[in-house]
């Protein structure tokens, strides 16, 4: 059986900042939702269902906050579903919303993903001491930095590649009015001068902590007929593997490789590097750009850094990556995956403004979470699949 076609009708984002103290949680969500609905040119009665994504409830200290937000996000009387798949949740929320349309159940679905980290302190929420467990006390950077070191060793990558990524993403962010970090003059040299935090990861190679929300409206083929240039959903995929297991490849996780393979197959793509015009990839630490280039199958194993070093991931390069500035420039955790998905859609809709890739026809959105173990991805295109 073939699924119904589905398309992104509109996207909306908040301004990302360390502390959005000008709004409540509901106000934060509505800022993204109202923009997405205006972009999609739809009104509340048009929305059939709402899907909400968010990382752990401890960040805001509200158990299942979508329950108390139901009124503000227009869900009362409608189906409301809350997704939580760790850091990949923003992407997973987009996938679930797509499925609701592709299954033929709904005409238009509103999906919103968010985090208001300033309600608490993510570092606190993530490091609540668990009895009988010894904290090595190194944080998220301490968790991922050893795997970055493994990558550098395996690929024989030169040490400045991470700095190239960070400088590029920060310069891209300066073209995105919503981005948290605005550093138009960032250079590789400045990144290399920043403090080494978790060697081999420097301060400027890490993501900020942000408040923010992102929303998309996904509609059926009939609903998309009313939109001038929707982003057609060509493929979606999700994969999960354990946090640790004997023999697990933590640099190039099988779940990511399998997820990408399923994605490309569903999208009818045989050569991703040639066929994809823009990619929004979840890169919270700069080195994950070359790592994911390999994991996604854009480059052979060990060669990801070569594309980055050659400048081909810049806007105007062979495969522009994170034209929005990416997670390195804005990281409202639960929303970050959906921002990748939305930015990919904006590229093929021609609505990416100053960070638009000329003539982008096909783009990929990517998110991951946990210990590089939860993956969600989509391919969107300007043409119907």
């Amino acid at each position: 059986m073939s699924k119904e076609r589905a398309a992104v009708l509109g996207t909306g984002q908040t301004h990302y900042r360390a502390k959005r103290q000008d709004v409540s949680m509901a106000g934060l969500l509505r800022e993204a939702i109202d923009r997405a609905m205006a972009d999609a040119n739809v009104d509340w009665p048009d929305i059939d269902a709402v899907v909400v994504g968010k990382a752990p409830d401890f960040f805001e200290g509200v158990m299942m906050p979508e329950l108390s937000l139901a009124d503000a996000i227009g869900a009362v009387g409608k189906p409301l579903l809350r997704v939580h798949t760790a850091g990949s949740v923003g992407g997973s929320t987009g996938v679930v919303a797509s499925s609701l349309v592709q299954a033929g159940v709904h005409e238009r679905v509103l999906a919103v993903a968010w985090e208001k980290q300033s309600e608490s302190n993510a570092m606190w929420a993530l490091s609540i001491p668990v009895p009988f467990n010894m904290p090595v006390g190194a944080g998220a950077g301490g968790y991922f930095a050893p795997h970055v070191r493994s990558y550098i060793r395996r690929a024989g990558a030169p040490s400045h590649v991470g700095a190239i990524v960070a400088a590029k993403d920060r310069r891209n962010a300066a073209k995105n009015p919503y981005a948290h970090l605005q550093q138009p003059d960032m250079t590789m040299e400045k990144v290399q001068e920043s403090q080494m935090l978790w060697d081999p990861i420097r301060y400027d190679e890490t993501c900020p902590s942000s408040d923010g929300a992102c929303a998309v409206v996904i509609g059926s083929e009939r609903a998309a007929a009313a939109v001038e240039r929707p982003a057609w959903i060509h493929a979606t995929a999700m994969r999960t593997e354990p946090t640790t297991y004997a023999g697990r490849d933590q640099v190039n996780p099988q779940a990511g490789r399998d997820c990408a393979a399923a994605l490309w197959k569903q999208a009818g793509i045989t050569n991703p590097l040639e066929e994809i015009d823009a990619a929004e990839i979840y890169v919270p630490f700069s080195w994950f750009e070359p790592m994911w280039l390999e994991n996604l199958g854009f480059m052979p194993e060990g060669d990801g850094w070569k594309l980055t070093e050659a400048g081909e991931t810049e806007i105007g390069g062979k495969l522009p990556i994170n034209c929005s500035g990416g997670v390195l420039s804005s990281n409202p955790i639960g929303a970050s995956g959906m921002i990748r998905f939305a930015e990919a859609a904006m590229q093929v809709m021609g609505r990416a403004g100053e960070h638009q890739v000329d003539g982008a026809r096909k783009a990929v959105g990517h998110a991951y979470g946990g210990g590089s173990q939860f993956f969600s991805m989509w391919v969107v295109g300007a043409e119907k699949p």
Binding site: K19, R20, Q21, D22, V23, S24, A26, G27, R30, W44, F58, E60, G61, D71, A72, G74, V76, S118, E119, S120, M123, W124, A125, S127, I128, P129, V130, P131, F132, N133, M134, P135, V136, G137, A138, G139, G141, G142, P146, H147, V148, R149, S150, R153, R154, Q195, M196, L197, W198, D199, P200, I201, P242, T243, T244, Y245, A246, G247, Q250, V251
Partner: protein, 321 residues
């Protein structure tokens, strides 16, 4: 097999959440700081208290604020015979839905009466205000039966007081954490200065700590395997960030240590050498605390240190990266 009693210990969660209110709730809370209760008029004309930020029907932002009385009538109630931590009163009270005079919806709060016999739906109640309101729902300490007696007038609002934009909400709770049977055996080993892993009956891999479910096969690990306290650094990072509660001077090394005979590495500290001398493949051994300090945890090993043996060849551990 003798029954093993799993180890357990409480997790105490406590945090003061800082909630920015946005304009609508801010206006309500600013009112409370002045002993004034404000609602908002919805598109259908109803006055909603506490105010909703968005209209229930049109979903437009609501901005037509209406002052309502701090007294009204009980719409429903239930008895709270044994108050829980954090609840408004520390003696038996009633939960009430109160429809304030001038409002069309009701507000949830506590009512201070001695016994359920003193309760009935429709009874008149009034707010009991805090001595020094700050702009928080708990500025209303609780409600109490309406009395004919004149109440002290509300203090003159402090004209200089700023509008409320933030509320602080402490949330504290306790949850009992329980280790799995497999982890308990491992922890009991550590208490005796031993490193005890377990082998998966299906894939035959040795896990330390052992698992309630082998992540590959979904079955519990079972056969115990005693492991030596030495192994190899597979990969690592040098930590230059001072962390809350971290007593080790920076820089220090956090490394994945793969014990000889184990099939999975765990994170630990590498000390007793310069951070820049740590390498992938470095052979290390455990440094234990004095045995009288041993408890149920891997912290019985303060850190690992180089053994001085030749490095393990990359190929011997590359499958563990």
């Amino acid at each position: 097999m003798t029954a093993v009693q799993p180890l357990s210990a409480p997790i105490e969660l406590s945090f003061d959440y800082t909630r920015s209110t946005g304009p609508t709730l801010g206006r309500f809370l600013t009112g409370l700081a002045r002993r004034q209760i404000r609602g908002v008029r919805a598109a259908d004309g109803r006055v909603i208290v506490p105010p909703l930020e968005y209209d229930p029907d049109t979903h437009a932002a609501l901005t037509d604020f209406v002052d309502v009385a701090d007294r009204g009538e009980v719409v429903s109630w239930s008895w709270a015979p044994e108050p829980l931590p954090g609840q408004p009163l520390d003696r038996p009270f009633a939960w009430v839905l109160v429809k304030l005079d001038g409002a069309d919806t009701s507000l949830l709060h506590a009512l201070d009466v001695p016994a359920p016999d003193d309760m009935h739906t429709g009874m008149r109640v009034q707010a009991r205000w805090a001595e020094a309101p700050v702009g928080h729902i708990r500025d209303i300490v609780c409600f109490e039966p309406e009395s004919g007696a004149a109440r002290a007038p509300a203090p003159e609002p402090d004209a200089a007081a700023e509008d409320v934009t933030m509320v602080t909400t402490p949330i504290a709770m306790k949850v009992l954490h329980t280790a799995s049977i497999q982890e308990t055996l491992y922890l009991q080993g550590l208490k005796q200065g031993r490193l005890v892993g377990q082998r998966c009956p299906q894939c035959r891999k040795v896990y330390i700590p052992p698992r309630g479910a082998c992540p590959v096969d979904g079955v519990p690990t079972e056969e115990e395997v005693e492991l030596p306290d030495r192994g190899v650094v597979t990969t690592f990072c040098i930590v230059n960030v001072p962390f809350l509660g971290q007593k080790i001077p920076i820089p220090y090394v956090a490394a994945y240590v793969l014990l000889d005979g184990a099939d999975i590495a765990f994170l630990h500290l590498i000390l007793d050498c310069a951070a820049e001398d740590v390498r992938m493949g470095l052979r290390v051994e455990a440094v234990w605390k004095p045995s009288e300090e041993w408890e149920y945890g891997l912290q019985n090993i303060t850190h690992f240190r180089p053994t001085g043996e030749p490095d393990a060849p990359y190929d011997s551990f590359k499958e563990h990266l």
